[in-house]
Subunit: 222 residues, 2 copies
């Protein structure tokens, strides 16, 4: 057990170091990095497809997709005219900073906002800093309003919570106020958006928020 | 890396040994053990609440609940009159056989079917045998019909696939035939049920299946 813990600490220490390098390098190029985390099927890729339209002509967007297998998500994003790179982890349950670092030369400098879509998993990705400036956790209405306290780390370490698939709320017992209250109990500083990438509800507000957060980063770094 | 791989192999080897002991011990007592795996919020606990009613007077049911935090799921199952024990992993992303083994004395012998509800995670639990006779993976319609190939291990190692939340199908782009075909491509022996624990659709067929599978185990062990 001791040996396992030492090794885990080595991995996390190395990850943290690389994440700091990514944050510095991307900050220097004016790239605002956003780490998207959620359960499988909470709507991360659909969100990116919707943002591709909303951010067009406002920010140059790029995407790194993390999945265990398949290029499917990168293909969906590319079909919206956004450059995308796929990482397939081949079994691993989360992205690590070194996987992202390896792709940064390909991403280049002509990017204003770089989304990293993590592996669909509400547990493991929360432990790994990817060098992001903004960590966003998605909770979709069909998953249930009881999830924040059951999977607290993702909610504790994020700055933003998106309550997604708001279009399905009429068909579900999901209580938006309960989910918000529980998430805020874990992390009182969470900024929360209720949205649907299908109907567009709440999407403009989130797109505007991203633009202003990027501007804030630029000011802070200047 | 070598050291990491060695340690992982140690963990999995030890897990496998304990899982075999659980399988033998439960088989000897006529306890049919079912491991339920899925993403968070795919409907595992709601399925168990529904089965509590359907199996009543037919099989003595018990449940071991796995979660990172909270007793919520065990409380929901107990409210249906079914004995339930909660394992909180305190951060770990899956159950391991040793966690189950520790609870077996409490579960006792007056049980016909023991469900183990794994941590909500479509990735990590697939790597850990818990001593089950039947591994069941749930995929809920809101998660999307593209999930089997993106998270193949859970589908490859299960004997049964439940396509849950069928009541939401009219509101979603989920293609049942696509999901089935893709899952069967990964694992041609999968038995698939389409069901809704809310409306009851498909639930009787699945309950009957569990009863006949338990009988088959008893015959095989006799």
């Amino acid at each position: 057990m001791k040996k396992q813990i030492d090794i885990l600490q080595d991995i996390l220490g190395t990850n943290q170091k690389i994440a700091r390098e990514i944050r510095a390098a991307c900050g220097g190029k004016g790239i605002f990095v956003v780490n998207l985390m959620s359960s499988p099927g909470a709507g991360k890729t659909t969100l990116l497809e919707s943002l591709a339209g909303l951010l067009k002509d406002r920010l140059r967007m790029a995407v790194i997709e993390g999945d265990i297998e398949t290029e499917r998500d990168a293909e969906r994003v590319r079909a919206k005219g956004v450059p995308a790179w796929q990482i397939t982890t081949g079994g691993a349950c989360h992205l690590e900073a070194r996987m992202v670092a390896r792709l940064l030369p390909a991403v280049g400098a002509d990017v204003d906002i770089l989304f990293i879509e993590n592996v669909g998993n509400l547990v493991c990705p929360a432990g790994y800093d990817l060098g992001e400036r903004l960590r966003v956790v998605l909770l979709s209405s069909p998953e249930g309003d009881d999830k924040p306290k059951k999977y607290p780390k993702a909610f504790r370490t994020a700055q933003v919570l998106l309550l997604t698939k708001a279009d399905l709320l009429p068909h579900l017992p999901f209580d938006v106020q309960r989910a918000k209250a529980e998430a805020l109990e874990i992390n009182p500083r969470l900024q929360i958006f209720v949205l649907s990438a299908v109907t567009g509800e709440g999407m403009n507000a989130f797109a505007d928020f991203l633009i202003s957060e990027r501007a804030r980063m630029r000011d802070a770094d200047a």
